[in-house]
Symmetry: C2
Subunit: 317 residues, 2 copies
Amino acid sequence: MSTITVSRAFRWPDKVSEDLRKRIHQAADDLGYVRNRAASALASNRSMNIAVLVPSLSNSVFVDTVTGIEKVFRTHGYQMLMGVNHYNSEEEEALVRAYLAFAPDGMLVTGFNYREATRQLLDQAGIPIVHMMELADREGAYSVGFSQEAAAQAMTEHLLSKGHRRIAFVASQLDPRTLARNRGYRDTVIKAGLYESHREVLVPDQSSVALGGALLRRLLEQAPDTDAVFFCNDDLAQGALFECLRRGIQVPEQLAVAGFNDLPMSECTVPSLTTIATPRYEIGVQAAHMLLSLIEGQTVPRNMIDLGFQLRARESA
Amino acid sequence: MSTITVSRAFRWPDKVSEDLRKRIHQAADDLGYVRNRAASALASNRSMNIAVLVPSLSNSVFVDTVTGIEKVFRTHGYQMLMGVNHYNSEEEEALVRAYLAFAPDGMLVTGFNYREATRQLLDQAGIPIVHMMELADREGAYSVGFSQEAAAQAMTEHLLSKGHRRIAFVASQLDPRTLARNRGYRDTVIKAGLYESHREVLVPDQSSVALGGALLRRLLEQAPDTDAVFFCNDDLAQGALFECLRRGIQVPEQLAVAGFNDLPMSECTVPSLTTIATPRYEIGVQAAHMLLSLIEGQTVPRNMIDLGFQLRARESA
DNA sequence: AAATGCAATGATAGCGCTGTCATTATCGCT
DNA sequence: AGCGATAATGACAGCGCTATCATTGCATTT
């Protein structure tokens, strides 16, 4: 029983006779033997690692995406290495560098807004990269996501259709996806001839429920006659709902409130939150599948997959 | 310039003359060279990986813990491999097996309730293990956390001190920490001569805000005269607050509500939520430090670190 | 000038696997 | 019986690093 046979017994069980295979597994169990991935990676030139870069885990949106990714890769024997860049392109570059040392077979990154140097690192690595969340129909760029702008546009149009005319937009974090939502909002109100710059509140701070309340206060100071607010995410919107409760503002009669993402909680708030349901789990699943295909050298039917979004019209608007 | 010198230039920069070091780094940049961790791990017998096992990431408690862990290990050159076991000891064992193949230098696990077979695997691996969240003052077992029972007891006593006499306990998930909280509650109400079994609602379902509302409904059906509810976590409690809003139940006048964990949002709810603040981030940091010491072969002053908890008395109770 | 110590650099082997090619055993067919 | 095809197993080199020990160069001491 040579070492190579043991290796085969683990990697291609049906290439080894049943008798031998059993004995090998028995022995492995008795000895507590575990295959060493480092050695395996070195010899085979396939690390079976894939690196995943997300901006944050506090934001449960990315937790969902990562869950989808994990599910796919786990069943294919790949190990996911997850890095959090805190919405910071410098940290992102450090992560890419760190993960390249694992010789990943592919990489999944959030968005397209990395530095030029990061792009070069990724290029040099010569491994397939799939982008998540945003879309870009560029030659050689793979992406799975949905149009942030179209989603924001749909929500703004929904608010318009409900008769609101003084619609505000409130955002924090200001990452590229947030800014795309801002554009979707702005384009739509401009087209309707209703754009007023003092109804936009944009701050770079990290999103939180508490911040939602604070930003609503600020908005109502600078634009007290606002009749609807579109928040760039559900966390802020939920904070605003609480602030309304506190101040006795009737939602949606006095002020309509809308969010973005459809967090599980948004269905239970009082009033329930009108929002955009985003296919974040499915993005993870599809991006992982696309990456798998690329790793195996297959060509993929489309290099861009738009998974769309859904407007959830609830009580708050 | 031999290969070993290049290796040294990266690992022990001051063992190489400045001139040579600069040339090496320059060349590495030009060529896009990245050290291969697999080879490094194989040769040095130190993977610089540490495995971290948590039950869930949807629960932001563990996201905080992982953030603390990451922060420590990142600055020490270790890579964190994170696995999610979904509160399932079978999955946990699979994860341990999978991560052992990375030859981690140490492991951080949540709680003590793993299977016997898992324990054997960990033993055989011969690497230091630090347990998080719960405490156990056993020989050779390392843990960083706080007493779940004491915390639940403190909350129950708080509710008693506020004059409540018909105090209910509602929990889902039923992992060992939840059950410990249940014991803390039960012991305290028994001691006060106020235990009534129909005021306990325990379900195995995954926690969520929506479930909190549903469980409150169930509780009020089977024990309508309840005057205070202690939920095993803030998610459930928040759902209950919404349910109260919906049904016009005055909190805390008609019904006091308490949670556990002090999620960021709990400060902003209406009314704000009385809860237990848990040192989850700090648990991550301290557990990581303890593991680092053990990996470096140092002895640690205490094999159990109790980081305590804080009662946050707010409006809801 | 010789001896000593230390810093800087190099040569070599081997970590635990797997790619590749070689060998042996087994079976069905003419 | 002889042949070829296929399945099962093995030998061996080498993946990219680092542990270890050896060597060189140079400053300091006697």
